[in-house]
């Protein structure tokens, strides 16, 4: 069975080794010669991502930087299984995601992958707690447990006193914290954050980043797309993307946020 490693039906003993590797060891995600192209209106294909090989290890923290339009978000969508590559293979825990059906990929996202977006994407008409519970809606957990976990996740991001507030009653930073709680609540293998501080002021952005790092400390990998060099500087591993070409940025070590310690 191709997806045995992440098959949600697997018994805990059967595959625990494959996903519970120590941080820095074991491949969580790999891109093998992955490309992405979109067809334009005139029928020509525009190459957004040139052939890329990339490995993300368990517990790794990675920043993806680059100018706007460079393909950052496309790369993130591919890694997060939201989009399928035009060619090449994406492996999750060794399993070929590109060979999976829509439903399996959805199940994978539901159980293992957390997302945080620049625009928060909270549902305006329901409370913070309900918004976090939506993060577990497509899992099999019973409602009561979803509620308990969502409460715990909101407490973890410091919003234990804001459970009943609607998004409109929260500040931008608080809204993003709700979004982070929504990503955390499923205890994901990996969190993808697309410009998580883009809509926030510097101080708030700093706090949000701290929260993401703290969340990753529980063992999740963290991939953040940013155009802010100050944000990127806090990551031990940085990828630069320009015109669809990804390369590693070598250089100084991080000042902080070293989750490997």
């Amino acid at each position: 069975m191709a997806v045995a490693g992440m098959d949600p039906l697997s018994q805990p003993t059967a595959d625990s080794a494959s996903w519970q590797g120590e941080p820095g060891h074991g491949r969580l995600l790999t891109l093998e010669n992955v490309t992405k192209a979109f067809s334009g209106k005139d029928g020509t294909m525009t190459q957004i991502l040139h052939p890329t090989n990339l490995t993300i290890a368990h517990g790794e923290r990675i920043a993806i930087v680059g100018p706007s339009g460079s393909g950052k978000s496309t790369l993130l969508s591919l890694l997060g299984t939201l989009d399928m590559p035009t060619s090449g293979t994406l492996r999750y825990n060794g399993d070929d995601v590109t060979a999976m059906g829509e439903r399996q990929r959805s199940d994978l996202r539901a159980a293992r992958i957390g997302f945080v977006f620049q625009q928060f994407h909270l549902i305006a008409s329901v409370s913070a707690l309900e918004n976090v519970m939506v993060g577990l809606q497509y899992t099999t957990l019973p409602r009561a447990e979803r509620r308990d976990r969502a409460t715990a996740a909101l407490e973890q991001v410091g919003l234990g006193h804001r459970l009943r507030h609607r998004p409109s009653q929260l500040s931008g930073g608080e809204q993003q914290r709700v979004a982070i709680a929504r990503a955390l609540v499923k205890r994901p293998d990996i969190i993808f954050a697309d410009e998580p501080t883009g809509a926030l002021d510097t101080d708030t952005g700093h706090t949000i980043l701290d929260l993401l790092f703290a969340a990753a400390d529980s063992g999740a990998s963290l991939v953040v797309v940013t155009h802010d060099p100050n944000v990127a500087a806090r990551f031990p591993r940085r990828l630069h993307i320009r015109d669809g070409v990804v390369r590693e940025i070598a250089g100084e070590t991080t000042r902080e946020g070293d989750g490997h310690a």
């Binding site: 949600p8 439903r103 996202r109 997302f115 977006f117 497509y138 099999t140």
Partner: protein, 407 residues
């Protein structure tokens, strides 16, 4: 140590339905004013149907009551004739056997009056000046079976049937110049006290021009004709509403178990009117309801298309959180169904209120088509589901990246 989720592939059905209803509720009620506007069409459709069928039902109840008063459920059994045109008398047991039949509510017996009886206001009226009034002899309770009501006084019962008292039909009272009980009339040169004057009886026209006396008195007063007087002249049979032809056959059989001819006449035209009325009014309500529901469905479809465009971000988010295209489709279909279900409930309330108000002002009994209410609601929900299919399909076809890019 973190624990990843260990999930079976499918949630239990109850959880799935509960989650679906929950997100449908959130989605449908997220914007109250829009929810009201979108479900207004459905509400009006259901209200139109419920109100119209309710008004129709009230009208019908009133009309049927009137038709029944006119005798739509009244059959008259009279002696039949044989091939030689000789009258076959009704057997004495006929009232009892007829009364025993199912669907028969009341039986009233009139016996044969003596011949050549003249009725006058007093002895001063020349006997040549006949006023075309007839004498009828009734057993106690016979007028009740016809459904007669009294303009003045009361009828002949077991307490006064052996006394020289008479009940006058409305026309008879007018012709005799009797305006109230306590007066007396001269029947076959014998004074009778008038104890009751009837209202006009459209269901038994002949009684309007009759003076009616009790059977016990008649037998005692005409001992030489007692055998003839005891013969049954007519049996009025009040039945529950039903197929007139079947009832007629049943009554005819019961009236003469030996199979002799009897004549059973019914107000057949009224029975037909009764059936026709109920059909046409119900059909009208249904047609208006269907048209309004279709329009309501279109307004829901319209609003769902706008909703799907507006909530692309949410759709993208839900896809990122693990919703399959099927989950998204179900969510929006359920939302449309929720809108129409709410609209349907509102429509039932509005319609029932309208029907009740109309019935109240018209002084009619409130009759709702109770069996039609769940059907109307079910039709509304079905319309909502159908209206939601296309917008939900569009939502489900959005790729996560398309949906997330939208803002």
């Amino acid at each position: 140590m973190r624990k990843p989720l260990r999930k079976p592939l499918h949630k239990p059905l109850r959880t799935r339905v509960a989650d679906l209803m929950h997100s449908a509720w959130i989605g449908a009620t997220g914007r109250v004013s829009r929810t009201i506007l979108a479900s207004l069409g459905i509400a009006l459709g259901v209200a139109a149907y419920v109100a119209l069928s309710g008004i129709a039902a009230s009208n019908q109840a009133t009309l049927l009551a009137r038709l029944d008063a006119l005798g739509a459920n009244l059959q008259v059994v009279t002696p039949g004739q044989d091939a030689a045109r000789q009258t076959i008398p009704l057997p004495d047991y006929a009232p009892e056997t007829i009364a025993r039949q199912p669907n028969v509510e009341q039986v009233g017996v009139f016996t044969t009056p003596p011949e050549k009886i003249q009725i006058f206001k007093n002895q001063l009226v020349p006997t040549s000046n006949g006023n075309a009034l007839a004498l009828n002899i009734m057993a106690p309770g016979a007028l009740d079976a016809i459904g007669a009501t009294y303009a003045h006084g009361h009828g002949i019962d077991r307490n006064n049937e052996h006394l020289p008292v008479a009940v006058l039909g409305s026309e008879a009272a007018w012709r005799l110049g009797v305006t109230d009980v306590g007066d007396r009339v001269l029947i076959d040169n014998e004074w009778y006290g008038v104890i009751g004057i009837l209202d006009p009886l459209p269901q038994a026209e002949t009684l309007n021009t009759s003076a009616i006396i009790g059977k016990a008195w008649a037998l005692a007063h005409y001992p030489d004709q007692a055998a003839d007087i005891a013969k049954i002249n007519a049996i009025y049979v009040r039945t529950v509403a039903g197929d007139a032809e079947t009832l007629r056959r049943m009554i005819a059989h019961a009236a003469n178990l030996a199979g002799g001819n009897v004549s059973v006449t019914a107000s057949a035209d009224l029975s037909k009117a009764r059936n026709a009325t109920s059909d046409s009014l119900t059909t009208l309500g249904l047609m208006i309801g269907v048209i309004a529901l279709a329009v309501g469905g279109m307004s829901i479809a319209n609003m769902m298309i706008v909703t799907v465009m507006e909530r692309r971000g949410e759709i993208g988010l839900r896809r990122a959180l693990g919703a399959t295209p099927g989950n998204i489709r179900m969510q929006f279909v359920a939302e449309a169904a929720m809108l129409s279900a709410l609209g349907g409930l509102a429509g039932i309330l509005i319609g029932a209120g309208t029907a009740g108000g109309v019935a109240l002002t018209a002084g009619q009994p409130l009759a709702l088509d109770w069996g039609g209410l769940p059907l109307a609601w079910g039709a509304a929900v079905t319309v909502g589901i159908m209206a939601g299919l296309y917008p939900a399909g569009r939502a489900a076809r959005l790729t996560p990246t398309e949906a997330l890019r939208s803002e």
